[in-house]
Symmetry: C2
Subunit: 347 residues, 2 copies
């Protein structure tokens, strides 16, 4: 199990969830014996430093910093135009102007600046989504002894990651909420549910496998370990914890019957990601052709989302959620972490 390898009490990684959490969740889970994670993709330099300082002050346990390593997008005026056209009826309805867009939401990719900051804090684990950064950057990460992990949505991606020398691989089943982590192919038919993906990845590679997608309670944790996982990664179940910063609309959707109906949609950011179905998904998605490349599609949504949310309307809000929200509870992240691993014999 990953516990012996990585100095963890529990074989559980809290999934990094950009946009809905900060260091509070990271700290709570690490202090509870799991591996807390900090999503860094949406953080500015200053915010990243501040979060790492906070973590250092509140826990001495291992934690995980997570970065996207998508290819930096090239603006495509035709695609931008098409996307804005598609959105313009809603702009009219909400009486909002495209030109009131704030500065486009940045998605930090893993780069020199990130490394320089991390070198001061030496996080025990550095995780990546959408493949891996360059070997030059990875070499510097290894210098402070960090473990490196990344997500695989297919057996081929797992084999690739092992060849690149990762310390463990996250097998991201179709059930998982948020962005699909694929990087070798964008053909979604190649991706599989956890029951199929996990054992086939376990058979195909030697390094430890972390199961992700659909795990909501201790039975799920146990089932994943039985299927050969060395640990599990859980995201959705934490969404109602007080340490999470999901907004009121997102929480309300998680608590409602709507949480049973999610879809993989590219209409929020340009990349496929699993969210509770809302108006934007129903009317323009779920998977739209010729979207602006990730993450540029979100720019045109910013004022529209803001206007709708002011009316307590989640029509344009990304309601990230996996296919199994049954584990969400309004309890502390620490309590949830213990519940998830209750009775799991760590050995």
């Amino acid at each position: 199990m990953l516990t012996q390898l990585w100095d963890l009490k529990l074989p559980l990684i809290q999934a990094p969830m950009a946009g809905v959490q900060g260091s509070a969740l990271t700290i709570a889970v690490s202090n509870a014996g799991g591996l807390g994670s900090l999503p860094c993709a949406l953080l500015s330099r200053e915010e990243l430093v501040q979060e790492l300082e906070t973590i250092r002050n509140q826990t001495d346990k291992p934690f995980n910093v997570n970065f996207f390593c998508h290819t930096l997008p090239v603006e495509d005026p035709l695609k931008n135009q098409a996307w804005q056209s598609a959105l313009s009826p809603y702009y009219k309805e909400y009486n909002v102007d495209f030109s009131t867009n704030k500065i486009p939401t940045k998605r930090r990719s893993f780069d020199e600046e990130s490394i320089e900051i991390l070198e001061h804090y030496k996080p025990a684990v550095v995780s990546f989504h959408f493949g891996l950064p360059s070997s030059e950057l990875l070499v510097r990460v290894r210098k402070w002894g960090a473990r490196i992990i990344s997500s695989a949505t297919t057996v081929a991606e797992a084999v690739y990651l092992e060849e690149k020398g990762v310390d463990a691989i996250i097998a991201q089943g179709l059930e998982a909420g948020g962005h699909r982590g694929h990087f070798l192919s964008d053909d979604l038919t190649q991706q599989a549910g956890t029951f199929a993906l996990l054992p086939q990845i376990v058979q195909a590679v030697n390094c430890p496998i972390i199961a992700a997608g659909g795990i909501a309670d201790k039975q799920g944790v146990l089932a994943a370990l039985n299927l050969g996982a060395s640990a599990v990664q859980v995201g959705t179940a934490y969404l109602l914890c007080p340490e999470v910063k999901a907004n009121a609309l997102h929480r309300a959707a998680i608590k409602s019957a709507r949480s049973k109906h999610t879809a993989i949609a590219n209409v929020f950011t340009g990349r496929p990601a699993r969210s509770i179905v809302n108006k934007l998904i129903r009317e323009l998605g779920p998977l739209r052709a010729d979207m602006p490349p990730f993450p540029l599609a979100s720019t045109a949504l910013v004022p529209l989302r803001a206007a709708a949310e002011q009316r307590a309307c989640d029509d344009f809000t990304p309601l990230w959620c996996g296919q199994n929200a049954s584990g969400c509870k309004e309890i502390s992240a620490s309590e949830l972490t213990h519940l998830l691993c209750e009775g799991i014999r760590v050995g």
Copy 2:
């Protein structure tokens, strides 16, 4: 576990697989202590009687007869025309004529004639795909004491089936091969992977749940039981057994690396079904709008498929397969059944 309830030695149902198996597989699995299944949808009256006679002669163990209960389709000339247009380049390539179609492939729906035949053999279990037949027909099935089961692809479908009084529900995860069993909605985004679907159905209803989709070996069986299933249904893993009638092209595809890439496609029959990706799926699928209603779409494929198969080409052959073909072995169905349940404590 279903074993105590249903007089089975093993908590395993062999999935009925229309088009690739007959009574030989049913008999082998029932004699091995599982519940063998006979798919009846493609059988004429005479064939059904013959198969039931054969089963009666070769096993005294419980077995399951499976029927589709789709709505009988209405021919739509416009859709037929569009579908034939889409196929015509391939017809030209193979120099085949639409008019050489044999009589359209029938899909027996569950009806009076079926009941009259079954009443002579009184199968222990009668299972349905695509919902349930009318209550009048079900009342007659119950007269000989048969158990009634059906497939649910969502929690809502499971609740519906329980309200209709089924004896157990098959939770069909997205990983499963063959036709998706949905009947309340054809919105595929409502369907979930086994890891998410199974525990949520278990929580929502009281009757026993049979897990299906992605289960390929004993670890999978154990994981499904841990997630609350009373039994499992396994289909794909049996596809290389000698008792199965999958043709040589289908077997070859299962044995190759291509078996890792499946898709839910409606281009074979008009209804979404999971198959290994082949040319028809790549070029006209996977999910095509305005297909002729199930099962009429298969009519136009018959001569094309025959011509291609004569050239040892599987471009138009339905290569039914789930997302986890790793359990397929060229061993007897009896041996496979025992392997799948090895070490499972029946209690």
